[in-house]
């Protein structure tokens, strides 16, 4: 079976059935179960969600541009997944702890991480951009699925402490095939851990369609592990917000984990190093553009009598400002000092590493003292 056969089944790339509160054209669909959870979301709040999504989209595209211009080594764009990320992140309390993969720029932004900090790791100046305890968000995880276990363990700890805070684990459709994610479901269920498993099914794991990972909607995985699974339109920020609140509420009440599958789409490449033309069609992308998470919110606002064009303009200006700030900050990020390679390997003194550091210090010093050691032969070297 080839990837395209797997698409042809249509089971997984066809977004329905899922919960949708706002259609792609901006119509509000009533839902008795979900609506109470967003009763507080008035038009102003919807406008704020729009603003969040717009700004992070702009930051994301600026980062892509910075990468193209050689300012970043790599960038994994979130374009298309704004509703999934903003809706879920805005459902959290400040003391809920976030464990994410490499693509969750929006939750980081919601948590007050500066975009330039976010990008520093992709520029290669730092191994991570922020202090997790300042933002209650772990540093991004590159090993697919590993963070699902971390979120579960942290949540177990919360429960043991008697806290009513929760954790959220972000991961992709591809990640559901890794042992770690499945083991996280086992542990979370067994210990009634207050964790929300938030799977962004963006249809692709690099070049692999979700149908290669699973023939079932991913949310159906949950039941067999002993937890509810909710499948939502991940491009509908209100559905995402409601579903995440439902899951968090269960967690806080000690009822354990919930699995959410947010059906969405990665509009851009996997990363800036990826060439999606090799594995998917323009048609497919066009189809998903029609399900854009931002336009439907504008349409909803417009239909509700809000000056959506005005909002759009105003937010665009803010977004541009954020992008300009980012650009200014990132291009002036200083390169780290050589000897910092040895920092933070250990907390406690380590005789072996101290010796190695000393040696490298001496080695570097040779280049400061012309004539000493090997420095007279640096011509034509790789440095």
């Amino acid at each position: 079976m080839t990837p395209s056969d797997r698409d042809a089944t249509g089971l997984l790339t066809r977004p329905e059935p899922f919960v949708q509160l706002v259609t792609p054209t901006g119509e509000r669909r009533a839902n008795a179960e979900f609506d109470p959870w967003i009763a507080d979301i008035d038009l102003a709040a919807v406008g704020r969600l729009y603003r969040d999504m717009s700004i992070i989209r702009r930051i994301d595209s600026e980062a892509t541009a910075l990468q193209r211009q050689g300012e970043l080594g790599l960038w994994p764009p979130l374009a298309g997944q704004e509703a999934a990320q903003i809706g879920s992140a805005r459902a959290l309390r400040d003391d809920d702890f976030i464990f994410s993969s490499y693509r969750e720029h929006a939750p980081a932004w919601v948590r007050g991480v500066k975009p330039a900090e976010m990008l520093s790791v992709w520029r290669g100046t730092a191994s991570s951009g922020w202090n997790p305890y300042e933002h209650n968000m772990a540093v991004p995880q590159i090993i697919i699925g590993a963070q699902a276990l971390h979120a579960t363990g942290y949540a177990m700890g919360l429960a043991w402490e008697g806290s009513d805070a929760a954790t959220i684990a972000y991961f992709g459709d591809g990640a559901t095939s890794e042992g770690d994610v499945n083991e996280a479901l086992v542990f979370a269920a067994s210990f009634d851990a207050p964790v929300v498993f938030f799977c962004q099914n963006n249809q692709w794991a690099i070049s692999e369609p979700v149908g290669l990972q699973s023939k079932q909607p991913l949310a159906r995985r949950a039941d067999g592990f002993g937890m509810p699974g909710i499948r939502i339109d991940g491009n509908d920020v209100l559905a995402v917000l409601a579903a995440t609140r439902i899951a968090l509420d269960r967690a806080r009440r000690g009822e354990g984990p919930t699995f959410i599958e947010a059906v969405t789409y990665r509009i851009g490449p996997h990363t800036t190093a990826d060439d999606p033309k090799r594995y998917r069609s323009d048609d497919e992308i066009a189809q998903w553009r029609e399900r854009d998470p931002l336009t439907r919110v504008l349409a909803l606002l417009e239909a509700s009598g809000v000056d959506s064009a005005g909002l759009e303009r105003e937010v665009a200006a803010d977004a541009d400002r954020a992008a300009a700030e980012l650009r200014a900050a990132i291009t002036t990020l200083a390169d780290p000092e050589p000897l910092t390679v040895f920092d933070h390997v250990y907390v406690e003194p380590n005789t072996h590493l101290a010796r190695q550091r000393d040696h490298y210090t001496r080695y570097l010093a040779m280049f400061d003292e012309p004539g000493a050691g090997a420095s007279d032969r640096t011509e034509g070297t790789t440095r």
Partner: protein, 336 residues
């Protein structure tokens, strides 16, 4: 002073750690109700409750990965891996997360996780129950690796490992679990020698014999046997495998001029290779002969009836001593 088996000394050390710091939690398969297959955690669940001594689902990646999350939250998880050969499903979480998170987070997140591993052979067990995987972890930056060899060390070192803010792989010589020794349960952590420090367990002039874990006792026996032959062996119990206490080993080798390293793990890329290389770097001018390694063969762990042909024993250690001394030995007359 109390006389305790090594297993009971560990039990006492764990009890003390649980009592001293409420953030210490034990996790593992069968460690609660059963008290562990070696009974090292016996009675601790009854004493501290199921949230402190946690029977986990059967999944090593799950145990280590949730411990990472717990450490993120400020806990100090102490994991029991049931047998050495079952650590590999958790390998990714150990080398890619536990070892690297402090570095990755630029010092913000600490991983004070202790991973207890009953290790080594000599108990007539089935496959995967007698391995010595310590070199994998000694090669992994960000981890500390220690091995205890006697009840007194077991008691203090497990407490030190738990108190350490760095992750520690803690290897326990399972075939010595039942060996008894004196333990000072009133000793304070601060007074005990740090776990990074090697111990000279027998002094000698002719050869430095370095080992750790279960083989420390065999090495002492070898030193006694050699003494009868007029050969004086200094035996060093490394205790810490990463980092190695090279100051201690080098000081000894500078006196003896000869080094033999012995361990149960295979030779190729074992801890002995690193020690031989590092000591040669440090003591080249003092060495009378190349350091000799007496190790398990580079084979999967053999069936129980053959393990005595795999594990270094007293005779093989003495043959190694003969090699380094240039006395008649198993390689006599063989081209290098």
């Amino acid at each position: 002073m109390t006389t305790l088996t090594l297993a009971k000394a560990l039990n006492a050390g764990l009890r003390r750690a649980l009592a001293d710091d409420e953030k210490v939690v034990l996790m593992g398969e069968d460690i609660g109700t059963l008290g562990g297959v070696f009974r090292v955690t016996d009675g601790l669940k009854a004493e501290f409750g199921a949230h402190r001594v946690v029977d986990t689902p059967l999944s090593e990646a799950g145990i280590v990965g949730t411990a990472v999350g717990l450490a993120y939250r400020g806990f100090r998880p102490v994991i029991e891996i049931q047998f050495d050969g079952f650590i590999y499903p958790g390998f990714d979480q150990i080398v890619a997360q536990v070892a690297k998170l402090h570095y990755r987070s630029r010092g913000n997140v600490r991983m004070p996780i202790t991973i207890r591993v009953p290790f080594g052979g000599g108990i007539g067990a089935a496959e995967h129950h007698s391995e010595s995987p310590e070199a994998y972890f000694a090669h992994t930056a960000g981890l500390r690796v220690v091995a205890c060899s006697n009840p007194a060390d077991a008691y203090m070192m497990v407490r030190q490992a738990i108190a350490s803010d760095d992750p520690v792989l803690f290897f326990e010589p399972k075939r010595r679990y039942h060996v008894k020794g004196e333990v000072d349960e009133s000793a304070s952590l601060a007074d005990a020698p740090p776990m990074g420090v090697a111990t000279t367990v027998a002094t000698g002039r002719d050869v430095t014999l370095v080992t750790y874990g279960a083989l420390v006792q065999t090495a002492r026996d070898a030193a006694l046997a050699a003494a009868e032959d007029g050969i004086s062996i200094e035996v060093i119990d490394l205790r810490s495998l990463a980092p190695v206490d090279y100051a201690a080993v080098a000081a000894s080798v500078r006196r003896t001029g000869r080094l033999v390293i012995t361990h149960e793990a295979g030779q190729q890329g074992g801890v002995g290779a690193e020690i031989a290389a590092s000591i040669t770097e440090r003591c080249f001018e003092y060495l009378e002969a190349a350091p000799v390694r007496v190790t398990g063969h580079d084979i999967p762990y053999p069936p129980a009836k053959l393990e005595r042909h795999h594990l270094p024993d007293l005779d093989r250690m003495l043959d190694g001593v003969d090699r380094v001394m240039g006395r008649p030995n198993s390689l006599s007359g063989v081209e290098a």
